[in-house]
């Protein structure tokens, strides 16, 4: 079932004590679309960039924009 599911795991903050919202860590898993897997990527983008890339390039929906999304992330798909 994981082959047909895209799982995105987010946390409220990065370093919790600092309420840090830059440098967020996210886990993406599953076999949908062209998701690149089996790696760790440090990506200078926004969480919105990630969401848009997943919705558009991986889930292949018609979603074309999302707040704080400025670019698609090649590192993902």
């Amino acid at each position: 079932m994981l082959d047909n599911t895209l799982l995105v795991m987010v946390h409220e903050h990065a370093e919790a004590n600092a309420h840090k919202n830059s440098g967020l860590a996210v886990l993406v898993a599953g076999g949908v679309g062209g998701l690149k897997k089996g790696r760790h990527s440090r990506i200078p983008g926004t969480i919105g960039d990630l969401y848009l890339t997943l919705a558009s390039e991986v889930m292949k929906t018609r979603v074309e924009k999302f707040p704080t999304a400025y670019k698609k992330l090649d590192e993902i798909a």
Partner: protein
């Protein structure tokens, strides 16, 4: 063998006359002759094998030195928090370095409110809500239209300061939260339709209600599908028993428990909720879900690890320096919630045109 619609439910009536519906997993009888798509037995029904989307959330934040790998690329070492996912390392993409810029916009609320809103919708916290739809709902609007549930919102831990932006991760629009269902019994009822009060006290299973319909469907199936159906119904029975065996205090919502309260074994709840989500996907009842393990600025304790002195919020802020607690929590979550092995999955065709079952382990949730 005639084609079975992907949307077939086993139907029956409960003791009080309530409608029971048990969705079916993917069966050979639902596919076209190539096995690449569902045979369209309903006008306009989607025939493509669907993809699903799950947004999973844990509150308060991480301890970066235990979580974020030092190395990038394909040869990275799993940190203590990621180590429980070792079996799945080739199926995950760990990402770090992302920014959530609208969390820093000046405005109402505290850091937690602002972070939560920005993380879910990309829009600043309005003082009341997330300012726009969360990403899971943006996707659900596109792919959820043909499902019984456009999306499912599932939760585990209840302990919260109580505001809407803290209690909810899914937002339909700027002011309208979609609350998570935190009680396995109620989630079970939503999926299987057994709304009768105290059904869990009865010795009978909801499978009894659909026995005639199940026999009728089974009789029309080939032998491989019959085995799949039997195994699937057996897994429904297993999750039903797990729900029925929860102590009574696990069947009520108490957000601000008394000082000595909230000592639930919440990995047990998390695993059960994961199992129910897997069943919802396997029976095609939804394609989108959100899963809220703990609340924004959450207040849960960790009794099964012996950490009851402080709550989640204090631990993540270093109020109690317990070496490796984060890793132990993550490990236990992952072990308890590694998910259910379903007897059926979406089938695939190999180069020789043969059908193969996909017998998959699925990760329910993780660190």
């Amino acid at each position: 063998m005639k084609n079975l619609s992907r949307r077939t439910f086993l139907r029956g009536a409960g003791l009080g006359g309530a409608a029971i519906r048990i969705g079916l997993p993917a069966l050979d009888a639902m596919f076209n002759t190539n096995g690449t798509a569902y045979a369209a037995t309903t006008h306009g029904a989607d025939t493509q094998i669907p993809s699903r989307f799950v947004l999973w959330f844990n509150g308060n934040g991480i301890i970066e030195r235990y979580w974020i790998p030092r190395e990038t690329g394909e040869n990275f070492n799993l940190t203590p928090c990621l180590e429980p996912l070792a079996r799945f390392q080739d199926k995950v993409h760990v990402i770090s370095g992302l920014d959530s810029p609208t969390a820093r916009d000046p405005g109402p609320g505290n850091d937690h409110h602002r972070s939560m809103s920005s993380l879910m919708s990309g829009v600043s916290f309005t003082g009341r809500g997330a300012g726009g739809p969360s990403i899971d709902q943006v996707i659900a609007r596109e792919i959820g239209r043909d499902s019984r549930f456009r999306s499912l919102q599932i939760g585990v831990c209840q302990e919260s300061f109580g505001e809407s932006i803290q209690r909810n991760m899914s937002w339909a629009d700027r002011d309208r939260p979609l609350p998570p269902e935190m009680l396995p019994q109620r989630l079970f009822d939503r999926l299987f339709g057994s709304k009768e009060a105290q059904w869990i006290d009865r010795k009978k299973s909801i499978l009894d209600a659909v026995r005639d319909d199940a026999a009728s469907v089974r009789g029309s199936l080939g032998s491989t599908d019959q085995v799949r159906l039997d195994e699937y119904l057996s897994s429904v029975r297993d999750v039903e028993k797990s729900v029925a065996s929860l102590p009574p205090e696990y069947n009520e919502v108490v957000e601000r428990p008394a000082e000595g309260g909230d000592l639930k074994d919440w990995p047990r709840i998390a695993k059960l909720q994961s199992d129910l989500l897997v069943h919802a996907f396997a029976s095609g009842q939804t394609r989108v879900a959100s899963y809220m393990l703990t609340k924004c600025q959450g207040l849960s304790r960790f009794p099964w690890l012996g950490h009851t002195g402080q709550r989640h919020h204090e631990y993540t802020h270093g109020a109690v320096e317990t070496p490796g607690w984060a890793a132990r929590v993550a490990r236990h979550q992952s072990l308890a919630c590694r998910g259910v092995r379903l007897p059926v999955g979406e089938a695939r065709i190999d180069a020789g045109g043969r059908r193969h079952d996909a017998r998959q382990y699925v990760v329910g949730d993780g660190p």
